[in-house]
Symmetry: none
Subunit: 149 residues, 4 copies
DNA sequence: TATGAATGAGTATTCATTCAT
DNA sequence: CATGAATGAATACTCATTCAT
């Protein structure tokens, strides 16, 4: 648990600096100065710099999932429209609260093609899956006519 | 003129590689191998790597200007709607023909905040100015009512 | 006594790993994982990694001494030939039983010149002294003619 | 050719320092200070430090081959004894002239087990092959009786 | 005693830039 | 003009050692 704390501490510092300066201009040393930890400590919690970035992306996805899940499993939405409305509202709030993560995902990631593309793809796939799943459920629930895109 | 040719040659190679791999993962050496020139030659035409990137952005703007100017100075558009339609069509075609430049502007640039932000801002300002200027002209020409956004 | 036990425990693990992987590729952490002790414990029994290596070398010498001493102080050898024969047999057995230590002494040590050379020299000197002393005794005992090498 | 010169220059400096201080205590920077070249230059001629060490071992083998070949292809040895005598004399001279290389091969290499063992094995195999080949030729030439080891 | 999280000095390696030819 | 060999500042990463618990 202590370890998880440190990991999050580093992750938060990294998120902040990478969102501001980009991946290549954020040096491992910068991050550790930011969170006031020794350089070696970094490698106790991350295999390397790449691993850190992937962790950030994955955390973004995890956090988003939690929001989405909360919205979807909640049985109180009776019709599709209010369901999606809630989903969008929650997503919107999430993005607002996680401006840094969004920045990284939308602006920083794309500049680091070769290493992160596979992760980003998986990421997008996962996001897509959620929406698709929900739509399927909705279709099954008879919200839509069958002849739609 | 020979020099301008060389410069464009390098600029094209750089555009291609940076669009594909990002700024930091495109090395000066890669670019010069791509265009089959010696590494030292680069510094005959550009002050440094940063200067190259700025040149790419500026060329993007210049090319866009040419398209926009052509469209605006052409007196053949009688009403605003056909004017903007032409503008958008031309812009669209331009973007299609310059996919690489767009990629760089939209995806690569943002990951290189600290150095290029001022240039990008200037860039955006310039783009905005054009549109604003045109709108002003249009307003003066009486195309719009005064009480609009 | 408990301490001596721990020390030997570490020494044995180190001997094994260093003989197999060399000095620089055997990390303090590896040794303590091998003997299932915490990393910090190491520094309760050794000043540092160098001290450990020296201890290994010295233990090698001590053990060899015991064998040699046993052989020499034993009054049962009447003539020189049987004395040396016994010495060699015992040494040979010792080397067989301590393959790891030999490995370290013959193959690992030489690659760590600057730190360990003095110790190794002292080591060799000591070994030489034993043989010389024995020979002197033998000479005094009249085993040899004075005009020999 | 200029490049080959530089490579040899570095190789010689490395040989000297590694023979004296061992592999792990000879730092890339030490070698380049020794031969008065910039740090980056090293990586123009060697992929990394390991590659350098392998080059040294291979050069040792190449040089030895030249000596051995000279000795073997020379048709002037009429009987086997004088042939081997020449071989040994030449090898002996070679070892004397290349004390550093011998030092590295015999004392430094063994301490770097995991990386270099395969190379060293190949090395030994090659050396063995030469002697075996020569013996076969000798046997065919009728120098030996068939019933020998 | 025993531990392992934290540390930072030390090292290999990269890459933009220079300059002699 | 053109070149590419040479350079070293900058950076990621390792590992022996410390110290609070």
């Amino acid at each position: 648990m202590k370890g998880e704390l440190r990991k999050n501490q580093i992750l938060d510092g990294a998120k902040k600096l990478i969102a501001r300066n980009g991946y290549y201009q954020t040096h491992v040393e910068d991050i550790l100065r930011e969170v006031k930890l020794g350089k070696g400590t970094f490698y106790l919690y991350f295999k390397n710099k790449e691993d850190l970035f992937i962790s950030i992306l994955e955390r973004f996805l995890d956090d988003w999932e939690k929001i989405v899940l909360k919205a979807t499993t909640d049985p109180s939405y009776k019709d599709l429209q209010s369901y999606f409305q809630a989903l969008i509202t929650r997503s919107h709030n999430f993005f607002k609260l996680n401006e840094e993560l969004c920045n990284i995902y939308l602006r920083i990631g794309p500049g680091i093609n070769d290493i992160f593309e596979p992760y980003i793809e998986r990421f997008e796939q996962k996001m897509l899956n959620y929406v698709t799943d929900e739509l399927k459920k909705a279709v099954q629930a008879g919200f839509f006519r069958k002849d739609m895109d």
